[in-house]
């Protein structure tokens, strides 16, 4: 296919050519000359003092090159892992930000905290030696639960963090909310838990550090979603390596979902060790290791209330959330349950006032940070469960109550009471179409049919909105971001007219090599095959903030679009010279520069060639070359949204919840590649359903051991858990992004958990159940059914 491939079509993905043949290059596939293998010894205790570590036996093992402890790194002035986003508590004080050494010294604070790093010729030798390290732990009482950690006599993780409280944060006008509640006709309230999740991208984390003596340069290969940010954080703040002496490469990465958007201790340790040893050092996480070393997601406990008038119109919302930070602050940890959570509490509804208070709490668990959706699924879950609860208590149909309170299409742009202003959307349009596709009208017949087989059937709904395309730097800065959130792209046109794009986002499944090539093909009229997208290498790509928060197309694509415009302008200048016309008279269309109103023209390829052969260029006004760069900083977030319906059947004898139907109608703005968007929605929805039905990161409350620490105990969604999903776009155009795009990577994960739980609760209606916490696993549901106070037969 040697043709222009435009916006709105679905060419097959460029990246698949290597992936289907097993020719991708993931970090674990890379071998460097003289490479050594590294293994971490990790704490088996949730909380303990490190009295001493004896590495002498380990050092004496065959093949062992070094054993490093936290003390060694401290003695070498290695810094702690930085936090990329600081928050301020409700009294104006900065959050508590205790040091986070890459390898623990003095104390370990969770099961999995690194205690030592062994480097040997082979992985087997390193593993064997790690077992010979003698650690004298003085075990301390541990606390893993949010409510427990705030109790007055709870074990304290840090001497200078009273009550384990990192920050007591708030957003909104509490007195306006209090007043609205006093005058409310009805108040619905709910207590809920947002279960801890472990993201588990299928490729485990891995890192290789290398030091080249001749140039004094370090290279880190890492499974990262944002290599430039790792270069900045690790280089400047942890290891003191100047930016120009550090290259970070994130090659093919096997899924991220947020888990790979943090700067991890392991990255710093392999890089530092490579410098010490003068040889490359590789670490690859075992899966069960990743369970205790990858950052986790979610883990909230929330109390929420909604005030309504007698017609079921929303008046105000009050939310109090405890959010687990784990034992240390991960890169974006404190930002997720605050800035990416509370501003979404208005959902797609008109709610005059909202107040939210979030207590960020330290516990003896793995650090918690962003996981697909990051804050926004948690907010959606609160809003939608509360709305269901209100509908049920006031005897209003749950679809109807939503329609009554939705922001009408013509009310956009809509300023919420919680900072954000939605630019565009049509929630009612999404809901009505979704209702139709889900055949809501036929549900009662299906319910009766299930009941005839002794099964409970339920219909659930969720609407949602998200703020993505992270992020306007100005706003982010006001909210505590410690860096900008723009994106950059370079369009390099070669003399042949072929194009290499250098972009700061990172592709780890999203299809950027294809989507971005479509944008360039569309803009410049260059054949799709003649365009390569380069990402993931700080030595090749100028700069970038990486991929997370559904930002790649929204922010990176915008930078690419702007850089393409600059190429066209430069091309017009060259064409004006070549065609002896004035710049104003040169038009560019379908890959051709022409003098308006004449048949004089030059193809894009001809102009590209001319750019590099400037024999007669007026050099004072026209430089040779055809390469342009653009940095784009968005003016607002984008606000994808939608309406999802889930239909489940529950077997009362086993507690098994079977998903029978799932319908999603989403507003993702302009769609560049429909095939890829649909794939993103599929994956996101299934991850959200995973949270609702299967996945649960569980700690033993006393010992602090992670009980769900492998694929045997942590239930990942499998192929046979799902029917075919019904998906349809219902897009409005974003008013402030160059192409009208909104982003789609997180939509599914945000919308689906609430839809599933709404369906489960609806199914259990005959038992008088008002809420079910996630995951609605067979054991959980079976117990609920068994304990229901007034069991009645399925209707």
């Amino acid at each position: 296919m040697n043709a222009v491939v435009g916006i709105g079509s679905s060419p097959k993905r460029k990246e698949d050519a290597r992936f289907v043949r097993g020719k991708g290059t993931y970090v674990a596939d890379i071998k460097r000359p003289g490479m050594l293998a590294g293994v971490f010894l990790r704490s088996e205790h949730a909380h303990a003092k490190l009295n001493s570590i004896d590495v002498s036996k380990a050092l004496a093992q065959p093949g062992v090159k070094a054993v490093y402890t936290g003390e060694d790194m401290k003695a070498d002035n290695v810094g702690g892992l930085p936090v990329g986003w600081g928050i301020t508590d409700k009294h104006g004080d900065p959050m508590k930000e205790p040091p986070h050494p890459p390898i623990a010294h003095d104390k370990v604070r969770y099961v999995g905290d690194a205690v030592a790093f062994v480097v040997a010729d082979t992985i087997e030798q390193a593993q064997a030696a790690a077992e010979m390290i003698e650690v004298d732990y003085e075990v301390l009482p541990a606390v893993v639960g949010l409510v427990d950690a705030l109790r007055p006599n709870a074990p304290q993780l840090y001497d200078d963090v009273p009550n384990n409280l990192c920050a007591d944060w708030e957003l909104g006008n509490s007195s306006a909310v209090d007043a609205a509640f006093e005058n409310a006709a009805h108040v619905a309230s709910i207590e809920l838990v947002n279960n801890r999740l472990i993201g588990n991208p299928l490729e485990p984390l891995a890192a290789i550090g290398e030091f080249e003596f001749a140039s004094g340069r370090y290279t880190l290969w890492t499974t990262s979603q944002f290599p430039h940010v790792v270069r900045l954080l690790m280089g400047e703040m942890v290891l003191g390596i100047p930016q120009h002496k550090l290259r970070v490469v994130a090659p093919d990465v096997g899924g991220g979902f947020g888990v790979k958007q943090f700067h991890y201790a392991e990255e710093a340790v392999v890089t530092w060790a490579a410098g010490k040893l003068g040889r490359p050092v590789k670490w690859v996480a075992q899966r069960s290791e990743g369970f205790v070393s990858d950052a986790h997601g979610r883990d909230h406990v929330t109390e929420a209330e909604l005030a309504l008038d007698e017609d079921g119109k929303f008046l105000a919302m009050r939310v109090k959330t405890l959010a687990n930070m784990g034992a240390y602050l991960s890169t974006f940890g404190p930002n997720i349950p605050t800035n990416l959570y509370a501003p979404l509490l208005s959902g797609v509804y008109q709610i005059p006032s909202i107040y939210c208070e979030v207590k960020c709490v330290f516990t003896n668990t793995v650090p918690v940070d962003a996981y697909r959706g990051a804050g926004r699924p948690e907010a959606t879950f609160v809003v939608e469960r509360l709305v269901d609860m209100a509908a049920r208590e006031m005897g209003i149909d749950k679809i109807d109550i939503r329609k009554r309170n939705m922001i009408p299409k013509e009310a956009y742009p809509y300023q919420t009471p919680v900072i954000v202003e939605y630019d565009s959307g049509d929630p009612l349009g999404c809901l009505e179409r979704s209702e139709e596709l889900a055949d809501v009208a036929g549900f009662e017949v299906r319910r009766a049919e299930s009941a005839s087989r002794g099964k409970y059937r339920g219909l659930g709904i969720s609407t949602y909105i998200e703020a993505c395309g992270l992020a306007p730097s100005r706003l982010a800065g006001q909210l505590g971001a410690r860096g900008g959130l723009y994106e950059s792209a370079t369009v390099r046109v070669h003399p042949s007219g072929a194009v290499t794009v250098l972009i700061g986002t990172h592709n780890h499944g999203q299809g950027h090599e294809t989507t971005f090539a479509q944008i360039v093909s569309d803009r410049l009229g260059v054949p799709f095959e003649d365009i390569d997208i380069v990402f993931g290498d700080t030595d090749r790509v100028q700069f970038g903030m990486g991929t997370y928060g559904s930002r790649s197309l929204v922010v990176g694509g915008a930078a690419l679009s702007q850089a393409s415009d600059k190429v066209i302008l430069k091309g017009r200048k060259i064409a004006a010279h070549q065609l002896e016309a004035s710049l104003e008279d040169i038009v560019f269309e379908d890959g051709t520069f022409s003098v308006a109103g004449t048949d004089r023209k030059k193809s894009f390829q001809e102009i590209a060639g001319a750019a590099y052969v400037p024999f007669d260029f007026p050099l004072e006004t026209l430089e040779p070359g055809l390469e342009e760069q653009s940095y784009y900083d968005p003016v607002n977030f984008t606000y994808p949204g939608g309406a999802h319906f889930a239909e489940v059947e529950i077997d009362p004898d086993t507690g098994i919840v079977t998903l029978e139907r799932y319908t999603a109608v989403d507003d993702v703005g302009t769609i560049i590649n429909p095939m890829i968007v649909e794939g993103q929605l599929h994956g996101g929805i299934v991850q959200g359903i995973g949270q609702a039905l299967f996945e649960h990161g569980v700690y033993d409350p006393t010992s602090g051991q992670l009980l769900s620490g492998s694929f045997m105990d942590y239930c990942m969604p499998r192929a046979d858990n799902f029917p075919q999903l019904v998906i349809e776009p219902h897009s409005t155009t974003c008013t402030h992004t160059p192409m009208g795009v909104k982003g789609c990577g997180e939509c599914g994960t945000i919308g689906s958990p609430a839809a599933i739980i709404s369906a489960v609760v609806d199914a259990l209606k005959p038992l008088g159940i008002a809420h079910v916490d996630m995951p609605a696993s067979p054991n959980h549901i079976w117990n609920i059914i068994r304990n229901a106070r007034t069991p009645v037969a399925a209707e």
């Binding site: 290597r18 043949r21 097993g22 490729e203 899966r287 929805i685 192929a719």
Partner: protein, 157 residues
């Protein structure tokens, strides 16, 4: 100890430690990194290869048990981009992959399924994939790919 087997139709003789897993032999010693390792509990299926024509989780098999046998990895499905296996084409055509990490295992499992069941229905495919985890695609397009791949394999045979 020394073992000999056929790997993607080429004879191979190697020295391996008796405790070496087939996945490690293939990836580390023989540098065929298309076979992936996604777990340590034999759950994810990223490591699936064919041994004597049947799909096997190579992380669960000792390398020495391949002695004298025939091993095929994802790299052995096609020699060039122009000569893809119908199942590879079907995955590409139907967007059956995103990050590509599960893909080699999915392909090898799918081909074995079709060998045993040339015309699998959706439920059979979903059940067969019980041992293959994909975190990206939600399995939707993988199922679609396998239906298309099976049809193409039938047409080709």
């Amino acid at each position: 100890m020394q073992i000999s087997f056929s790997l993607n139709d080429e004879p191979v003789t190697v020295d391996v430690d008796p405790s070496t897993l087939l996945s490690d032999l293939i990836r580390e010693q023989l540098s065929l990194t298309g076979t992936h390792v996604g777990c340590d509990t034999s759950q994810c299926g990223a490591c699936v290869v064919h041994v004597n024509g049947d799909s096997v989780k190579s992380c669960t098999m000792l390398a020495v048990s391949a002695d004298g046998g025939e091993v095929r990895t994802v790299e052995g499905l096609s020699k060039s981009d122009a000569d893809l296996h119908p199942m590879q084409i079907a995955f590409r055509e139907n967007h059956g992959l995103q990050c590509g990490f599960c893909t080699p295992g999915m392909l090898m499992s799918a081909i074995d399924l079709v060998k045993n069941n040339p015309d699998p229905n959706e439920a059979e495919i979903r059940e067969w994939l019980e041992g293959n985890i994909c975190r990206c695609t939600g399995y939707q397009n993988i199922v679609k790919s396998i239906i298309a791949g099976a049809a193409a394999m039938r047409a080709a045979s």
